[in-house]
């Protein structure tokens, strides 16, 4: 499998706090990768660095063979890195359909309908998205990620606040997406991680603690101590 994303010695500190420290990370095309770790491990900072929402203190990011470290976020999105927010960030005053059409870069058209259908929100197309239930807003966020037709879809805690049945259909959805995109998933829900991820990266205090197949990670003592044991 060819390499899609690579970070070299990627670091970011806020004041004295090293949120992400010297992370070497690589991701192959077509992979579903989960990033796990305790609260404050630097997961969101790490994916924010990849998506370009924050600038690194040092290190570099290579995406699809191109060094994107210096590119602003919107250019990275144009190159195929999509980020769905942990805290939903939708256009509350616009309809669900308008939200997704903007993501598809065809605002003012019905281009968003297919994506809404894929996440099961087809019947909510005309509803003002601010009035959608929390779970539906999360799904809308995912639909916007899909509409960007990314090479890399970063999902930041996508199942947070979803009901069991919604999680069930979400797993199916990610499998569906993974057929033509690479997925980077930050997730607390271990059953979801174990079901979906091909490989798992464990972050702890800004560093990579372990990386491997789900069964290896489950068996790893270090991971147990740092994370699973405390969870």
């Amino acid at each position: 499998m060819s390499l899609l994303l690579e970070t070299r010695a990627l670091s970011r500190s806020f004041g004295g706090l090293k949120a992400v420290e010297a992370v070497d990370f690589s991701l192959s095309r077509g992979e579903v990768r989960a990033v796990i770790g305790p609260n404050g491990a630097g997961k969101t900072t790490f994916v924010s660095l990849i998506s370009g929402r924050i600038a690194p203190s040092s290190g570099s990011i290579v995406f699809a063979g191109e060094d994107v470290t210096a590119l602003p976020a919107f250019r990275r999105v144009q190159r195929g890195i999509a980020y769905t927010f942990q805290i939903t960030s939708i256009y509350a005053n616009l309809t669900a359909e308008e939200n997704v059409a903007l993501a598809a870069h065809r605002p003012g058209t019905h281009a968003g309908r297919d994506y809404l259908a894929r996440v099961g929100l087809a019947d909510r197309a005309a509803q003002r998205s601010g009035t959608l239930s929390y779970g539906h807003q999360r799904l809308l966020e995912v639909a916007m990620g899909l509409a960007l037709r990314p090479k890399l879809l970063i999902l930041d805690e996508p199942t947070q606040g979803l009901s069991d049945s919604e999680i069930e259909s979400f797993i199916g959805l990610v499998r569906d997406v993974a057929r033509d995109a690479t997925v980077l998933l930050i997730e607390h829900n271990m059953p979801v991680v174990m079901t979906l991820a091909h490989r798992i990266t464990v972050l702890d205090r800004g560093r990579i603690l372990a990386e491997g197949r789900p069964e290896d990670i489950r068996a790893s003592d270090a991971v147990q101590r740092a994370y699973l044991g405390t969870g």
């Binding site: 929402r53 999105v77 939708i90 605002p107």
Partner: protein
């Protein structure tokens, strides 16, 4: 574009056209002024209403058009059509430069920076009093306002020509506004207003779109300023003062921000209100101040904004 939207806007223009056959000379003159200034408000609305950027300095672009045209015909020997084009071109250049700098600031800092740039422009007008004649202003004599275009002789001192020209300009401005807000870029501007960081994370170059809105509004302001100077034969520094930056904000708020016809309605109503109030008080600023406060307190969506919310959801 749906038929009723076209009908509505064409109807408003037609009504304004027919009005000249019924109204008195004084009303025709007042409405000429309203239509010219409504262009200023229409452009301001693209930036403030649709993009969500509150500028407190658009008088500098209005003044760019105003003095560009006035000096163009009186000092540089330009004809009326050429002076118009030069003035609008200058407006585009000035607003591109000022926009590129001031858009580096956001929120409150953006408002203050635009205000200060405008004040610097106002002071510049006073500083070059030899050319601009400062407070007293440039009076454009009639010989400079005659021109021929496509073989037709025209004289801007003629009130009928002036009214219909102002109407044509207004129609053009409304059409451009409609085209912009219904275009792809127009939707992105609204997206920036609603959630700028999200829009960047959808892969839009938000800085470029904001500059686009800024320059569009600056060009409208210069267009309006140039028309004002040539049609009313006057360019004075009061028209470059802070008050003239506040006016389009007030007109837009009154008529309804982010509605196409709101600024036009707001300009007309405010003019008529000040006109009416001048019967028993000379304090037109008091009327403006009280109107601003009341609007913010009780009527933040303006007239057409409230109408759209309650009864006419299709209103653009």
């Amino acid at each position: 574009m749906s038929v009723r939207i076209i009908l509505l806007h064409a109807g408003v223009i037609l009504a304004l056209f027919l009005m000249q056959f019924l109204a008195s000379d004084y009303v025709v003159l007042t409405f000429t002024r309203i239509m010219v200034l409504a262009i200023y408000a229409l452009g301001y609305n693209i930036l403030f209403g649709y993009t969500g950027l509150l500028s407190l300095g658009h008088a500098m672009f209005f003044a760019t058009g105003l003095y560009g045209a006035a000096l163009g015909v009186t000092r540089f020997g330009l004809g009326v059509p050429e002076a118009m084009l030069v003035a609008i071109g200058l407006g585009i250049i000035v607003s591109t430069v000022i926009g590129a700098v001031s858009l580096r600031a956001s929120g409150v800092a953006f408002m203050i920076v635009t205000l200060m740039f405008s004040q610097a422009a106002f002071l510049t007008v006073l500083y070059f009093g030899d050319y601009t004649r400062g407070d007293e202003g440039i009076v454009i004599s009639d010989e400079f306002r005659r021109f021929s275009l496509f073989g037709l002789e025209a004289d801007l001192a003629n009130p009928v020509l002036r009214y219909n020209l102002a109407l044509a300009f207004l129609a053009l401005a409304v059409a451009v506004t409609l085209a912009v807000i219904r275009s792809r870029a127009g939707h992105v501007l609204v997206a920036i207003r609603e959630n700028e960081s999200r829009t960047a994370m959808l892969g839009y170059d938000t800085a470029r779109y904001k500059l686009l809105a800024f320059v569009l509004s600056g060009a409208f302001a210069a267009f309006s300023g140039a028309s004002y100077a040539l049609m009313f034969a006057y360019a004075g520094s009061t028209l470059a003062s802070i008050q003239y930056s506040i006016h389009p904000l007030l007109w837009t708020l009154l008529g309804g921000a982010a509605t196409v016809l709101g600024p036009v309605l707001g300009t007309a109503l405010m003019f008529l209100l000040v006109d009416f109030a001048s019967g028993f008080t000379s304090a037109s600023l008091l009327v403006v101040g009280v109107a601003l406060i009341l609007l913010v307190l009780f009527f933040p969506k303006g007239i057409l904004g409230t109408l759209r919310q309650r009864y006419l959801p299709w209103l653009p």
